[in-house]
Symmetry: none
Subunit: 238 residues, 2 copies
């Protein structure tokens, strides 16, 4: 995440000004994720300890301090709306439509994250499912709006290279966004204890890596290609 | 807050020099807030602990260390006058009027923060109300002066896009400024204990997010639009 931030910002002098805004915001997204992953790392280290059982064997034990996954939701509350703003900026719609989409999608996606959290910290399965269903309402609205908008944006790209990247962005977005509700379900289907927590954390980390640095590099490819077409010189190798 | 600072400073090369001053100061405002929020976070962590009650249940307990909200007032003592200076600079009044307004409003707003603090750290309700009333005198002076000045500034913007942003700035300022006295009242109406402290903190955080990063992005929109009109090239996408 931190490396992605440095990459996006070091590329800033190489793109045109309006494309630079896209890279600036993407570097901020991965910076917020860097900060929150350090907090998650520290909380994880405080919650578990590795104790010697003698004879060179070790066992992982709970320290009694709870693992605080709230940092993950604090991260998403900021980064998910910012990721949507990035996608809307890349679509290059008329200004009025851009502003209206930014308001609607960023509020809906923040609402989705906020509705997911009360379920995430529950052990009662029916309460978990209740908040999952509520969060799926703004989630579905955002995904369907994006699917339609991105299809249109793909057809409007200025060059075949940009169009093929925009198409990759579209499928990656759908894939990574639809991963989260399934990972959330890990604990809702009755898996419990440290193993469930571990699977859930691995799932969220994989989804975040797709949604942030991998997605960001594709967006960088698009803005680099667009800057080249707009005349600031060729950036992508070949 | 930290992300907002980076955003404003990374946008510096894209605006004209006089508009760059506005962005520089705004990055300093959110930087001061970042520093103080780290101090508040640490003080909060020291004041509360999460202890296991066995069986996977946890309880939040007081550690005995007091939660020090003084960092919030130390933050406001610097950031509130700076926020007012930002608004006065955006108004683009004649130089003499600008200087006189900066002195009057920044001293009045610092006085308001200083008068609020002795009440904030009191448990006696009548003493809380006494300081609240005193702080409302400079507060009202600042809000009425701003309301009048911003109405005039809105009508003087160089383009319809800048005028619509200036109008949003005006309403957001009134909304966020008027939130603080109400949040202060949470404890004055007799709510007490950890719940009251939590509601108060959530209220102040929401008001600060509106008054600093959200407000700052609107100000950035205005200076980007003004720089475009003044000829440094189009900045906002579309």
């Amino acid at each position: 995440m931190g490396s992605a931030t440095i990459f996006f910002w070091l590329q800033l002098p190489n793109v045109t000004k309006s494309n630079g805004l896209t890279l600036t915001i993407f570097g901020i997204i991965t910076l917020i994720a860097t900060y929150n992953y350090i907090r998650i790392f520290n909380s994880w280290s405080e919650a578990f300890t590795v104790a010697s059982k003698g004879g060179g064997d070790y066992a992982v034990q709970l320290t009694g301090a709870p693992f605080n996954d709230g940092h993950r939701y604090q991260d998403w509350l900021l980064t998910v709306p910012l990721l949507l703003i990035e996608m809307i900026l890349v679509m290059k719609l008329p200004q009025q439509e851009t502003v209206s989409l930014i308001w609607k999608l960023s509020l809906a996606s923040a609402l989705r994250v906020a509705l997911g959290y009360p379920g995430e910290i529950q052990d009662d399965l029916s309460v978990r499912w209740f908040w999952w269903c509520l969060a799926m309402i703004p989630f579905s609205y955002v995904v369907f709006t994006l699917a339609a908008g991105l299809a249109e944006a793909t057809s409007k790209q200025p060059s075949p290279a940009a169009a093929s990247l925009a198409s990759a962005v579209r499928y990656l977005t759908m894939l990574s966004w639809c991963t989260y509700p399934f990972v959330y379900m890990v604990k809702s289907v009755g898996l419990a204890g440290p193993a469930a927590t571990m699977y859930e954390q691995v799932g969220y980390v994989l989804a975040d890596v797709l949604a942030m640095p991998v997605f960001g590099v594709l967006i960088w490819g698009i803005v680099a290609e667009k800057s080249a077409v707009e005349g600031s010189g060729k950036l992508l190798p070949n």
